[in-house]
């Protein structure tokens, strides 16, 4: 198992490298003038200023040199003696340190690392709350629909989930903003229903809990972000549960006289978990990065928002740096999902081993 994990971790490297290289090429091949974007503001850039800015960002070097600089900067493994200003010295005998320099944003003039430090935690918080909603509501609805197949509850759940998945995220977001943000202010709806239209809590306790009034900032974006996934999870749960509930061992359990709840939760659900856990796991990684529209509508200072900003400003280092983070995160979460299979299904052994 350890060998399997190590192999998977090492596999992340070529994946990230490929994404990185692709982005680098795109930004150098497609007509792109970061100096005009950074210094221009709608006017021709003075040649002296152009030279100064190019030098500042290393744009006066050849593309190969820039690529090499970028790769060596991103390389997270440093040994003692590999001293760079601002880099903390290594610890321990191996003197190994992990630190990646993702470059510097053209438009914001600060290291991409600092952007990641600021935005990634916010995206993780939002994704976590969305997952909590997704799991609580999605599982409950899915199980209910499976257990009460063809009942009114089942039909209702099916219709609702289809509708929610079909509804575009921004429509849902703006609609909820209007219902919970604007109407209570105007008096059409009671004021205790008022939630914040945009923004984030001032502070967080224990990383995940919003401080004081902060709940009112979290609810809408979390619900909007969770909406599509919840619907999908409900459907997936229902389907998987139905399959499992038809299995022989379930019939045996019922015949044995176990109570319905025990059968559903302890036996059926546990077996249905693998596809469900896969969905949740992949969802988490996706939600962190792909919460772009939600973060934009609700002005949630997360990594998706920063990425959109970077793309619209043609800010290559930001896009490159953030993509690396997301790719690595995604690969890592996938690994965790795979490892979790061993918890749910004792038959699963990770890594190939020939059975004689």
């Amino acid at each position: 198992m350890v060998r399997y994990v190590v192999r998977r971790v090492l596999l992340i490297i070529p994946i990230v490298w490929a994404a990185l290289t692709l982005l680098f090429i795109v930004y150098r091949v497609v007509p792109n003038d970061p100096v005009q974007i950074y210094a221009g503001a709608g006017r021709v850039v003075n040649p002296i200023i152009r030279e100064n800015v190019e030098r500042k960002y290393g744009l006066d070097k050849s593309p190969q040199a820039q690529y090499w600089d970028f790769l060596t900067g991103v390389n997270p493994i440093h040994f003692c003696g590999d001293d760079k200003p601002g880099v903390q010295p290594g610890v321990g005998a191996a003197c190994l340190r992990l630190h990646s320099d993702l470059g510097e944003s053209y438009s914001e003039d600060r290291p991409v690392n600092s952007i990641v430090r600021e935005t990634l935690p916010n995206s993780v918080r939002l994704a976590t709350w969305a997952i909590i909603i997704e799991v609580a509501v999605g599982l409950a609805v899915g199980i209910l629909a499976a257990v009460r197949r063809y009942s009114f509850a089942d039909a209702f759940a099916t219709v609702t989930t289809t509708a929610i998945v079909a509804l575009p995220v921004f429509v849902l977001g703006v609609l909820l903003q209007w219902i919970f943000g604007i109407l209570p202010h105007k008096g059409t709806l009671p004021s205790w229903m008022r939630l914040e239209v945009q923004g984030m809590p001032e502070d967080w306790d224990f990383f995940f809990i919003p401080d004081g009034d902060g709940w009112r900032f979290v609810i809408l974006p979390a619900v909007v972000l969770a909406a599509g996934s919840t619907a999908l999870l409900a459907r997936m749960t229902r389907t998987t549960m139905l399959e499992v509930l038809r299995a022989d061992f379930v019939r045996t359990a019922i015949a044995k006289g176990l109570r319905r709840r025990q059968v559903v939760v302890k036996h059926a659900l546990r077996n249905a978990m693998i596809p469900i856990v896969t969905l949740i796991g992949i969802d988490f990684a996706t939600l962190v990065g792909a919460a772009v529209i939600t973060e934009t509508i609700f002005n949630w200072n997360g990594i998706g928002l920063a990425l959109v900003d970077g793309v619209s400003k043609r800010d290559a280092p930001v896009v490159q740096g953030l993509t690396i983070v997301l790719v690595a995160l995604y690969a890592f979460v996938n690994l965790l999902v795979d490892i979790s299979y061993t918890l749910f299904d004792p038959r699963v052994r990770l890594g190939k081993r020939s059975e004689s």
Binding site: I37, A41, A140, L144, H185, S191, V197, Q198, G199
Partner: protein
């Protein structure tokens, strides 16, 4: 069976109640504010994206400059309501030598930095040298080039600057490379702000000063750096000397909220939080209906125009003058404005330099800025021109209504026999194409950096100048401007600038299409909200309550 179903229903009910109940809570402020009642929440300045750089030496657009203008006071300042030039940190207008090349400012002695230290002439000298340092990489250093030695310094080729700071006598003497009567006006631009030498010279990296709280000398001080989550906060500086209004601001804190999307930002405003917001594109009527007289609709010193490639055989030069005149008369500017931006969204220009410029008087511009479309006269001019029906290309930036505007004009020009192809370009390829000379007509805009005729007329139209995108060259025009720059009497100088403008418009190198307006909506909790013609808000004059 029944038990399990019940428990699931119970669970879902509890969950939904929990969500709704979380919406309850201490909701005391019914409308306006959304924070401490002495905080003014601004949703418009960064309503469509966060700031690039707010350091006074690096800020390159109006919105990024807004916080800087509140935190830093320069030698001179433009009165926000009248645009009159007034002394600020300088105690009076400078002494100027005969040929307008030497300016001596005597500073006030009661101006302090936010940390209490006095503002000295050497702070100005230090700040300007910092901007001109090639390593600093400032995109706005070119405003300082008229100072002797500045351009060379910025190119890394010189170390001497024509600035003498005498801290004992409290004077600052500036020598310019050439006659530059408007220098006092130019110092109102943010890039000429002083910076606290005693703090900034100790920094390792000059460009990251703005990430932490910058120390300034203006009516407001920063309480957060640029590395913030979602907003930039400023607080009143209680030991301020009073400024132009000779009193401290009333509003205690200002919060500039950053939003990526103007529609959501406006949603926040509608929801009762925030005191000023942008009006989302296309919703002017709706907003006017709802907020009535709280909609601000003021002229902005900005002009958008079509420029001709004066070096091309197709449209440039003397021989094609009638063609350009005809095109100028054929465009139905008012319809185009209505179609692309909404009725009355922008003004139809009657010249190039917008109304509202200090010293403005209407100029005659029969063809370039005709008040109305005149197709008959345009057709006559085409006959006089006598060439074959041409096919011309118009370069426009992608999006933002430019395409609709161009399409309106395309239809207009069909009627006089000119076929037009529209070529939308992404911003980064735009200036490259124009620079190559590979076009017939292009769209461009100019927002004034400071309220003076020179800013709009010099660098864009003087022969071979950097901002001269059309390639226009008229020695008579060049001479007139140089004369204006050497004229010490401001009224006479402005008259000369107007004469130059008329010379230029008669040659029709550009056709002004619209003059900008500033559109905002304010809440009823805000009073005396002054927006200057440069698009800057004078928060030091506002009141809340």
């Amino acid at each position: 069976m029944r038990r399990m179903r019940r428990s699931i229903v119970l669970l879902s009910t509890i969950l939904s109640l929990a969500l709704v109940a979380a919406g309850c809570g201490d909701d005391d402020e019914e409308s306006g504010g959304g924070g401490d009642s002495s905080t003014l929440i601004d949703l418009q300045n960064f309503g469509v994206g966060g700031p690039d750089k707010i350091d006074p030496g690096l800020a390159r657009d109006v919105n990024s400059s807004q916080p800087g203008y509140l935190a830093f006071d320069g030698l001179m300042e433009n009165d926000p309501e009248t645009m009159e030039l007034k002394p600020m940190v300088a105690e009076a207008a400078p002494e100027v030598n005969e040929d307008n090349t030497e300016f001596t400012f005597t500073l006030r002695d009661d101006v302090t930095w936010h940390d209490g230290e006095p503002v000295k002439p050497s702070d100005f000298e230090f700040a300007w040298k910092r901007v001109l340092d090639p390593e600093f990489g400032s995109p706005v250093s070119y405003h300082l080039y008229p100072i002797e030695g500045a351009e060379a310094m910025n190119a890394g080729e010189g170390t001497e600057l024509g600035v003498v700071a005498d801290d004992e006598a409290n004077t600052l003497t500036v020598t310019t490379e050439y006659a530059y009567s408007l220098f006092p006006r130019v110092t109102t631009h943010l890039v000429f702000s002083p910076v606290p030498k005693h703090i900034v010279e100790k920094l390792d990296d000059q460009t990251t000063w703005e990430d932490d709280t910058m120390v300034g000398n203006g009516p407001y001080k920063f309480t957060s750096g640029k590395k913030t989550t979602g907003s930039i906060k400023m607080e009143r500086y209680d030991d301020y000397w009073g400024g132009l209004a000779d009193k401290n601001p009333e509003v205690k804190t200002i919060e500039f909220r950053i939003s990526e999307d103007e529609t959501s930002a406006y949603g926040v405003f509608e929801g009762g939080t925030g005191h000023v917001a942008l009006i989302p594109e296309g919703r002017l009527e709706e907003v006017k209906e709802e907020f009535g007289d709280r909609v601000i609709d003021d002229p902005l010193l900005a002009v958008n125009f079509y420029g001709f490639n004066m070096k091309s055989d197709a449209v440039g030069g003397e021989e094609n003058l009638e063609l350009r005149q005809a095109i100028g008369l054929a465009l139905d500017k008012e319809t185009a404005i209505t179609a692309s931006f909404g009725e009355g969204a922008r003004k139809v220009p009657s010249g190039y330099v917008p109304e509202g410029m200090p010293g403005y008087e209407a100029v005659s511009a029969e063809f370039a800025a005709a008040p109305e479309q005149n197709l008959d006269r345009a057709k006559e001019l085409m006959e006089e021109w006598g060439g074959d029906p041409p096919t011309l290309s118009i370069l426009i930036p992608e999006g933002s209504g430019h395409d609709t505007q161009a399409e309106t004009f395309q239809a207009n020009l069909e009627e006089i026999g000119v076929t037009v192809t529209i070529d939308p370009l992404a911003p980064e390829t735009f200036f490259g194409r124009v620079g190559e000379g590979n076009y017939d007509i292009f769209w461009a805009g100019w927002v004034a950096d400071f309220p003076h005729y020179d800013n709009l007329l010099y660098s864009s139209f003087v022969t071979d100048n950097g901002d001269n995108l059309t390639g226009y060259s008229n020695p008579e025009y060049d001479a007139k401007l140089l004369e204006a720059r050497s004229e010490p009497d401001e009224d006479k100088a402005i008259e000369m600038y107007r004469e130059a403008e008329e010379i230029m418009l008669a040659d029709v190198p550009v056709i002004p299409l619209d003059w900008g307006t500033n559109r905002l909506v304010i809440s009823d909790k805000v009073d005396n909200f002054v927006v200057s013609k440069l698009g800057l808000v004078a928060y030091e004059l506002a009141t809340l309550g």
